[in-house]
């Protein structure tokens, strides 16, 4: 793919996944996953435990290489591209454009909020890091706790700081790996508000077990079972009751 077709070129879809395979030992965690997601969409990925949801997210975010297509999308005909960047061949460039919010905060509890963001700002070599940190802490309403150690934060505050960390490098796409896991209703409301406030500016990919929440947020839904795509549709085309039935049938399939 020519260089100019990557990144901000509006013609390039946010995600192009073609015949994606990831094998762990004898088990196929991803088995020929194929779909294309437009820019600005919100994809919710559902499926039973062990269906391959988190593996898919890890492959898309370059944390786990695919088992096929290690030579890149172009050479093998299978693999994944995020905003035109091949998850294998362009991994380094792609990492600058990805933000992840997980049920794991990915923060250091023995550092303060400010020190955590400063560390990641240095890893991303952000210009004028202190200004960026200040504005993000302000945005997630943690400026008053900036010098406090993260281990003293509540779960909701940690998740807000986690969002600030994810947005630090101005990513193009946000991956959310069960971000509501372990949050109390109040913290979940705050997270809802933060996602809503940035919803229009990003492409989102969210892994969730919460059918209602996932459907509420998404523009596209995908059900994975045994590493295969059972359903990938725009939300407008989905009948919620049929979707629920299909989902529960796939949960019954369990893992491969």
């Amino acid at each position: 793919m020519p260089e100019q077709a990557k990144g901000t070129n509006a013609q390039v879809p946010a995600l192009e996944v073609q015949g994606l395979i990831r094998i762990f030992g004898a088990r196929k965690a991803l088995d020929g996953v194929t779909f294309t997601l437009p820019r600005g969409a919100f994809l919710s990925i559902f499926g039973p435990n062990g269906a391959g949801k988190t593996t898919l997210l890890r492959v898309l975010s370059t944390l786990t290489p695919p088992s096929q297509g290690s030579g890149g999308f172009k050479n093998s005909g299978s693999g994944a591209r995020v905003f035109g960047y091949d998850v294998v061949k362009d991994a380094v460039e792609l990492r600058e454009r990805i933000g992840i919010i997980s049920h794991n905060p990915l923060l250091y509890p023995d550092l303060s909020a400010d020190e955590n963001l400063r560390f990641f700002a240095d890893l991303y070599c952000i210009n004028d890091p202190q200004a960026r940190i200040d504005e993000l802490l302000e945005a997630v309403e943690l400026k008053h706790r900036r010098m406090d150690l993260v281990r003293t934060f509540s779960r909701g505050m940690i998740q807000r700081l986690s969002i600030a960390r994810a947005l630090l490098p101005h990513p193009d796409i946000l991956f959310l790996d069960e971000p509501y896991s372990g949050l109390d209703p109040h913290a979940a409301d705050i997270l809802d508000g933060l996602i809503a406030s940035v919803r229009d500016q990003y492409t989102f990919v969210m892994v969730s077990h919460d059918l209602d929440k996932g459907l509420e947020l998404c523009s596209h839904a995908l059900i994975l079972a045994r590493g295969k795509v059972v359903l990938f549709e725009e939300r407008d085309d989905i009948d919620r009751e049929q979707f629920r039935v299909l989902y529960h049938q796939t949960v019954g399939l369990g893992v491969s």
Binding site: G40, A41, L106, L123, C125, L167, P169, H170, A196
Partner: protein, 284 residues
């Protein structure tokens, strides 16, 4: 396309699937034009990313690890205490050897043994604390070259090991060699150089092996099983060089430089291999 237009284009695409058509409680985007919050928005010039500086990333890892250690004192305290316990065990064992036993003849081996065992404790911890809350994933998600990550962790491990050595080496000398025949002992800087070469190799190879073992079951056992055999050439070279200095034989200087050279060569080769393999070991 101007940035504002680009965001609005994105928004119009996103509108198709958002909003409250399915009775959602959260209105994600209204029909009105919204002005994106520049703080929370993607970079308007996202093709022009900041220039990545490996030096800045290296310093960030070093600073983070040192600040966390100064705050928790987890590694240095546990390594220091463990080293002290090893010295106590040595003391108990050697107290039965009789007054004619010249400890200086085996002191180099004993000291290095204490250092190697102590280092394994720290090496295990150095990557385990990157896993507690998925921090290793956050590190790997950042645009850092994997060899820079290796260098950062290895230098941190070296610093912590060096601090422990600065404490236990004089302690070792006063406990075991105060009354030994050390009048022929060579200059202290030669002892320091031998320990330095040993510590560089321990930190370099140890960081690589700790990374390999961090995701395995029984990581402590796995590290120990791989670490000691791989370190054997270095340990032999450093012990021989140290022995030459401590015993002060007539050919001490020649022996010292020969084995210091071997230790240096081992350090260079293994660190070069670790540098080249680190990305492969991490798997991303």
């Amino acid at each position: 396309m101007p940035y504002e237009d680009k965001v609005l284009t994105r928004k119009s695409k996103a509108d198709k699937g958002s909003g409250d058509r399915m009775g959602s409680g959260t209105v994600l985007s209204s029909g009105d034009k919204t002005v994106p919050d520049p703080i929370l928005s993607p970079d308007p010039l996202s093709t022009q990313r900041p220039k990545i500086s490996s030096w800045r990333q290296f310093k960030a890892i070093l600073r983070k690890d040192i600040v966390m250690e100064l705050r928790t004192k987890e590694m240095i305290t546990s390594m220091g205490l463990y080293a002290l316990l090893v010295l106590i065990i040595y003391y108990v064992a050697l107290s039965q050897a009789g007054t004619n036993f010249d400890v200086s003849r085996i002191s180099a081996g004993l000291l290095l043994l204490a250092i190697v065992f102590t280092s394994m404790l720290g090496l295990n911890r150095s990557l385990v604390h990157e896993q507690d809350q998925g921090q290793l994933d956050a590190l790997l998600l950042s645009p850092i070259d994997r060899p820079i990550l290796f260098l950062g962790k290895a230098v941190t491990n070296f610093i912590f090991l060096a601090i422990v050595e600065v404490i236990i080496t004089p302690l070792f000398y006063f406990i075991f060699m105060g009354n030994a025949h050390t009048s022929q002992m060579g200059p202290l800087w030669m002892v320091a150089l031998a320990l330095l070469l040993g510590s560089i190799g321990i930190a370099g190879v140890g960081t690589l092996l700790a990374t390999m073992s961090v995701n395995t079951k029984g990581k402590d056992f796995v590290l120990a099983v791989i670490f000691i055999p791989l370190m054997f050439p270095l340990l032999l070279a450093v012990v021989t060089a140290l022995n030459a200095v401590i015993l002060g034989n007539p050919d001490a200087t020649t022996v010292f430089w020969r084995f210091a050279g071997i230790a240096f060569g081992y350090d260079v080769i293994t660190i070069a291999i670790a540098w080249a393999l680190y990305e492969f070991i991490l798997g991303v």
